[in-house]
Symmetry: D2
Subunit: 138 residues, 4 copies
């Protein structure tokens, strides 16, 4: 599974297709096994008690797995989430999040894998998600 995109390709793709959010996500590392994505957490992601909201973590899981899949198949914007099973395990700190996503099975129709989410400055993961994406033909 040689990579079809570089980190620069990824950032250019995000700026083209998702201009509204491209400043929030930064691809920090990318290999055949894993992609690392950092998410800028802002005021509106924070919940009472100084933690990050579940939907914010879901968004990062979803975007990271999307990028992990594209790194293997190239910039097919219409690749869409089919399902996600996410476990929220620890209360995140009120700070940026880091995701590590890996593709476990790349088929013709489906991409299946998982994402581990960390709070910057914490060793142990805050959430873990299994995702399936549907890959458009052609």
């Amino acid at each position: 599974m040689a990579l079809k995109m570089t980190i620069e390709d990824m950032h250019r793709f995000l700026a083209d297709v998702f201009p509204a959010v491209c400043d929030i996500f930064e691809v920090q590392a990318m290999s055949e096994e894993e992609i690392t994505v950092r998410m800028k957490v802002s005021e509106r992601d924070i919940r009472p008690g100084g933690t990050v909201s579940g939907p914010t973590m879901f968004t990062l899981a979803d975007v990271s797995y999307y990028l992990a899949t594209l790194s293997h198949i190239g910039p097919k914007a219409l690749t869409v989430t089919t399902s996600c099973a996410i476990d929220f395990m620890r209360k995140p700190a009120a700070t940026d999040l880091i995701a590590k996503a890996r593709v476990l099975k790349l088929g013709k129709v489906l991409s299946v894998g998982d994402v581990m989410i960390y709070s910057v400055g914490m060793d142990k993961p805050v959430a873990h998600a299994n995702l399936t994406y549907s890959i458009p033909k052609g």
Copy 2:
């Protein structure tokens, strides 16, 4: 499982605890079996191709199940999502969403149930989620 809150209680609770988002969600109906929540979809929830983003649907599933649980246990703000398995089944229209959430098991520690999500004007559901919430003591 008699209800512990009215629709008015719900709206007051949302305004107190989540002032930033309370205008987005409206509880439309509530019974012992089911709660119906409407979500205002805005520009930033829309994706290229005129559809609603996955994280927006996740947010609605999460909020609806939170409110479904609170309707049975009262306004315990610290009730938190433990896990969510969501299937995205159809492309939603670029319009408001409706969720129907039901509690299937209310234990001392966990609340387990599901949420069906519809696009206003479409008969068939666009997404279906199973959620578990952890209930704080006391």
Copy 3:
């Protein structure tokens, strides 16, 4: 979604394709919306404390959703489970199980739906599963 098989077709199909287990499962009712399947629980499904094992409930969820899908697409034996998210909610009694399965989305490639599992003699469900099956071409 008119049905493509009758209850008799189902039982004949099970006897042909899964002779080892066809005596365990009985389709009790079938409509466009829902299929009801009863599972004979035997000694080896029982766990210490007089309850039914998790794998037994998973097996029923899997078989019921398979049959629900076949009722809509006809007897395509090679239809296979892609994913399952199951919540175990209550301790089942040491007795037979009943499943009610419904197809929520039937696409060309995937069938997505859920299954509610009951213990005979108990009102409230013991488990709830969301399943996705992959449908073979042709």
Copy 4:
């Protein structure tokens, strides 16, 4: 998280509590990070086409995560599965299965983690499951 049981303790525990199945499962390796469990696949686990059934893989995921949790909390037989989200990714060979389970979060009430399942002789995983177990008090 120092281990509370040895491999010998595990096998003795299985023989005591699950005499009917203890010959099927063998703990091959165990560390603070991961437990490796081999499952003997027999005739009745095989499906037409020479593959292993979904319920057999679920059973291995369930047992492996149970043992992974017990390795950290000691032999509490009443620890029970709360939920499982499993993705079936590749057709397994008609041979024994290997599971690698890891605990990602061990709380007072819940143990959350995942299991990767392999077919003996295949490099890539055939299934991946996220599980949550409820831990009894005392």
